[in-house]
Symmetry: C2
Subunit: 326 residues, 2 copies
């Protein structure tokens, strides 16, 4: 068994066309029924304000499958620790023998999540995007922006976050690597009005975007909600979309924006619902007209984890990185 | 983070009164509502005849909680590999930070499973046991016997297994460490007739013990069934027991003998059902009369894993064993 540390993983895995293409393949496997993906396992530790998610998926044709443990302990900053943590285990799909531990501390999740945002925009955003709007100013907001650069040329970025200092710091960081003007917006409404693509990347528990703000030619990727209590979109947005897509139907009906749509009674589990894999496999079409409103609900799938972890493993091994254990 | 290897773990964790007592505490926590234990996660990889289970539980008062990955790949012997594999991760319950990896290859599962058998016999077997019957001749059958020695003095062991050579080898091994006469029985029926305590420890998919064989003063621990398709007991045995106990109601209704009882329509989810933790906490009584027939259905819980993994971790750390990783 091999163990790999975050710094090595960060050297060999980046948000780029190769990883985005790998994530497209994972979605295709999911949609084609070439995946075994049980529901997310979750442990809530209320007394320490913590939550742990376990995701996994076996994808046919991949040597290894990933079991990912990711946690959020929201009192950690008081202890001087980051809230989030994560690691991936890789298990041989033919024998069950543990092959590797990727001590990525959530980095590979950041990459595969951003890559899904890029896949969403690739098939759903208008061809010409002038302004990208970002709601949120955390790490993932930045990764989403890097990923969007791989699939669309845009000139301007508008960002909104609740805490001024945090947003300003985020803008300073982004300016180093993103080739576009970056401005801070006054409100989420302002962001939506002035953008053709909007990505929400927050841990919000209530809708940040309202249905009234939608305009022709808008694409929204909502990637923040990955648990029952999280929500970024007014459920009315789901019914006003001309094309509504999600990463995984069953999971989004449990954990994503679709879950709130069900609760609000504006959609049903019987509704025709497009998955990202239907787009990547060519079975369904994404945006077909410039004026359409498109929405994508991402909850993050074990299939993406297995794809990115396999990619990382083979890159690391080919460079003789990592440490071998008994 | 620390990583511990199997040989070190085997040095410090044994089937003994200390570990059995630790497993009793875990059941008490479960029954008292001091545990968060999500349903078992399962990945079936049919094309390689493999299955992977993920179990976890947070127990209040324990520093760390365990996430256990265990697998069975039944074509492995053809490749010269053992079918089973397993490892445990220990995560800090206050911060979510990974604390340790126990590369135990299933050893701690063997110990905590045998310990549950001992807990079952402690509260349910008659005080005087002359003969213990074992159905099955795998590793776990042996561990169950070691564990029973800690809670009852018995003079004789009767074992039944399908493959003669395997049973004979098992008997030779057991004779080295078990202070009792060990004989091979002709049939499961023979075992039941001549024993006061019977433990079934097989991967059987159909009932091995029949209701007609029950006799006053018998205790049965059925520990083999931990998946929907596994079964060791004729469901009629469940209704003919004077005291019917399980390790975890919800899990046994899904995966254990109780599951087959539900399917056969002989029990319902509303039936009064005693959990092992009701016995260890003193809330309910086990056997109250010598002539009673008692049955215990074990599926193996994440709570046991968290208890045994904490115990192992503290023993290993106090001896400065293991390897520190970044």
């Amino acid at each position: 068994m091999n163990i790999f540390k975050q710094s090595d993983i960060q050297k060999v895995v980046k948000v780029n066309r190769e990883t985005i293409s790998g994530i497209e393949d994972a979605f295709t496997s999911l949609a084609n029924g070439n995946a075994v993906m049980p529901p997310v396992m979750r442990i809530d530790i209320e007394e320490y304000n913590g939550e742990v998610d376990i995701k996994t998926a076996y994808l046919k044709g991949y040597d290894l499958f990933c079991i990912k443990i990711s946690s959020g302990f929201f009192d950690n900053p008081k202890l001087g620790l980051p809230s989030g943590n994560g690691m991936m285990l890789l298990i041989c799909a033919k024998t069950g023998v543990p092959a590797a531990i990727l001590m990525d501390h959530g980095y590979l999740t950041d990459v595969r999540t951003a890559a899904a945002g890029a896949v969403s925009a690739k098939y759903l955003a208008p061809t010409d995007v002038h302004t990208v709007g970002i709601i949120g100013s955390g790490n993932q907001a930045g990764y989403q922006l890097y990923a969007l650069q791989q699939v669309r040329d845009f000139k301007k970025v508008l960002v909104y976050g609740r805490t001024n200092e945090r947003v300003e710091k985020w803008v300073r960081n982004m300016k180093k690597t993103v080739h576009a003007d970056i401005d801070i917006a006054e409100s989420p409404k302002d962001v939506v009005h002035r953008s053709q693509v909007v990505v929400t990347a927050t841990p919000s528990k209530e809708p940040l975007l309202q249905q009234e703000w939608l305009h022709p030619g808008l694409h929204i990727t909502a990637m923040g909600s990955d648990a029952e209590h999280k929500q970024e979109l007014d459920p009315g947005i789901l019914t006003h979309a001309d094309v509504l897509v999600c990463d995984h139907k069953e999971q989004c009906f449990r954990l994503g924006e679709l879950h709130h749509g069900l609760e609000a009674g504006v959609i049903t589990q019987e509704d025709d619902m497009i998955e990202l894999g239907d787009l990547t496999s060519g079975v369904r079409k994404g945006r077909t007209e410039d004026g359409q409103i498109t929405v994508c609900d991402l909850t993050g799938t074990g299939a993406q984890d297995t794809a990115i972890a396999n990619f990382a493993y083979h890159e690391l091994r080919s460079r003789n990185m990592g440490m071998k254990l008994d």
